[in-house]
């Protein structure tokens, strides 16, 4: 087991800078998830920790030892690839033991490790099969098993569940969580799926265009995002953003008026400096933070276009503007069978259940 530290890590491909100075401290035994949209640099960051990509600048340390110039094989890490990267011509058993056999590890120890991995992952009955004879989930288990037999200090996962169907993804997610508890090893996991990030991580690192937007525990990111990107990325369905204007200040509170709802004003107490009067701001409201009419601080009249009934809850897709020109909002409602056909829907928002962002997307607390 080992801690992983990234200090001002930069990656350039030619003249293009892909990762702009990443600073991350991953504690020993922690499960950290890198999450972000495609092309944000999360996989590159993981591959730099693995040693499969050189770093252009900065420092990476594993277990307190700087590994910038240490070969990938000697970093004490094991990686699970998105495509599983199993050796197609070898049986499961050979796949698991290949690395150990090639490096002259004692036979008895290799057998012990392979047996342990097969028991942990419940793949003992698959040992004589080849990868092409396995399902996606079974292949993924073998890929994880191959990482386990190395007994690494750090496990790296590069979008390991993205090739699996939805049901299997949930199942494997639970398995990986269980595995982390069982092994207690540091795990770094890359995904673009924020649900995976929320359910697996001790801490999440949110990346966007090569920058770290925020690092924190899943619910901290959900409740207290640092900026509009994180607020929008974390949470499903995503947060609603309503265009607003700063229209006044009242005893340390900002008074904002919603642009697409004439006369709808909200008084929001802030601890930061208040934005300038007349300036553009954005109000963020999560789908579950819309209340029945009159129950909040400010009522909004919307046109409900579509309703999705999931059984436990319903999501109403509504347009906030008069005449259909405003924001598309997603509103969580109690489960119902009501079909939305452009009917009016009045909902209420609360100041303490909404977030304020300035025009650049930075949070105003």
């Amino acid at each position: 087991m080992a801690a992983v530290t990234l200090k001002n890590v930069i990656k350039r491909f030619g003249v293009f800078e892909i990762v702009h100075g990443a600073n991350i401290d991953i504690d020993d035994g922690e499960f950290v998830v890198f999450v972000g949209p495609s092309g944000c640099g999360k996989s590159t960051l993981l591959r730099m920790i693995a040693g499969l990509e050189d770093i252009s600048d900065g420092e990476i340390a594993i277990g307190g030892k700087v590994v910038n110039d240490v070969e990938a094989a000697d970093r004490g890490i094991a990686m699970v690839f998105q495509s599983y990267a199993l050796y197609p011509h070898m049986t499961v058993e050979q796949n698991l033991s290949f690395g150990l056999r090639m490096t002259g590890n004692p036979k008895a120890d290799t057998e012990r490790r392979v047996k342990r991995a097969s028991e942990i992952l419940r793949i003992a009955e698959l040992m004589k099969r080849r990868p092409r004879q396995l399902s996606g989930g079974q292949r993924q288990r073998v890929a994880i098993g191959r990482a386990i037999v190395r007994e690494p200090q750090v496990f790296l996962f590069d979008e390991p569940l993205s090739n699996l169907d939805a049901e299997l993804r949930v199942q494997m997610r639970v398995e990986i969580s269980r595995l982390h508890k069982e092994l207690g090893v540091t795990m770094v996991y890359v995904t673009h799926d924020q649900t995976e990030a929320m359910t697996l991580a001790d801490r999440i690192v949110v990346l966007n265009a090569g920058n770290i937007e925020q690092i924190g525990a899943p619910l901290d990111l959900y409740d207290d995002p640092a900026n509009r990107f994180v607020a929008g990325f974390v949470g499903s369905p995503k947060m609603n953003f309503l265009a607003a204007k700063m229209v006044g200040a009242d005893n340390g509170a900002a008074v904002v008026e919603l642009v697409n709802h004439r006369g709808a004003r909200l008084r929001k107490p802030l601890s930061d400096a208040l934005p300038a009067i007349g300036g553009d701001v954005v109000l963020g409201v999560r789908p579950e933070h819309f209340f029945d009419a009159g129950q909040g601080d400010c009522d909004l009249t919307l046109k409900a276009d579509v309703a999705e009934h999931l059984g436990s809850v319903s999501y109403v897709y509504a347009n906030s503007g008069t005449g259909g020109g405003g924001e598309e909002l997603i509103i969580e409602r109690e489960a119902s069978r009501h079909r939305a056909n452009g009917d009016d829907l009045v909902v209420s928002i609360k100041a303490d259940r909404s977030l304020l962002f300035d025009a650049t997307g930075a949070r105003i607390r």
Partner: protein, 286 residues
Amino acid sequence: MRYQNATAYRFLAPYLLIFSIFWLWPIIDSFLISFQATRTVPWRFAPTFNWGRLIGDPAFFNALKNTLLILVIQVPVMISLAIVMAVLLNSPLLKARGLFRFAFFAPVVVGEVAYSAVFRLMFNLDYGIINKLLNSIGLPSVDWFTNVTPAMAVIMMAVTWRWAGYNAIILLAGLQSIPEDVYEAATLDRVSKVKQFFYITLPLLKPIIVFCAVLSIIGTMQLFTEPFLITERGGPGGGTETLGLLLYRQGFRSLNFGYASAVAYTMAGLAIAISLVQIWLTREPK
């Protein structure tokens, strides 16, 4: 349905006609000819005339020996060389990859007569560059075309030069289909590059290697141009005469079509048999 089939066959008819006349009939007819004595007028049916002669003909066995010798030595050497070339072409360290790819493939598009003339000049006893190079490192000149072993070596070198690059390009396509992350996984498994080549690259490339080997076996069984042009009709003294050349000599010099047909069918049969054995030996375990 039957009407549709009939329409389809009417559209196919021109092709089927040409195929039948120029492909199917010659294949059948040459097989029938191999059972006829064709040096009498008119030809007469004599099943053992050509096939019986084949079994006891020293010229046939000489040609068979030469062909198999080339097959056993040249094909493995060429395939090995092609694998090395493909690996080098696939290396990320290589600059101007397109140029090298073209250069390796170029011998295939060079005219056979032109390249044979160049090889004759290169291996010329008095003026050839090969003997000059041998002399420059203190070795005596070799009379490449009047002794059987050196003449055979020249044939093998020429065929290897011409076809190694062609096979390398096919193998390169195979190499490029091996996913990069398999090598990355092996690297993280602490497997050295050399072991990665022997334990990952070669096994995964096996179907392509077998394909190249089968193509080369078929090509070698039909070998004609090099012994005809470079060593002057299988010289010295039939020392480099191959089955292809024997077929030509019997068919077109002696106009003994029956015997030439028997030789042709023997060549095809051997190529099929050797290729099947090759495929069977290298088959994937279930």
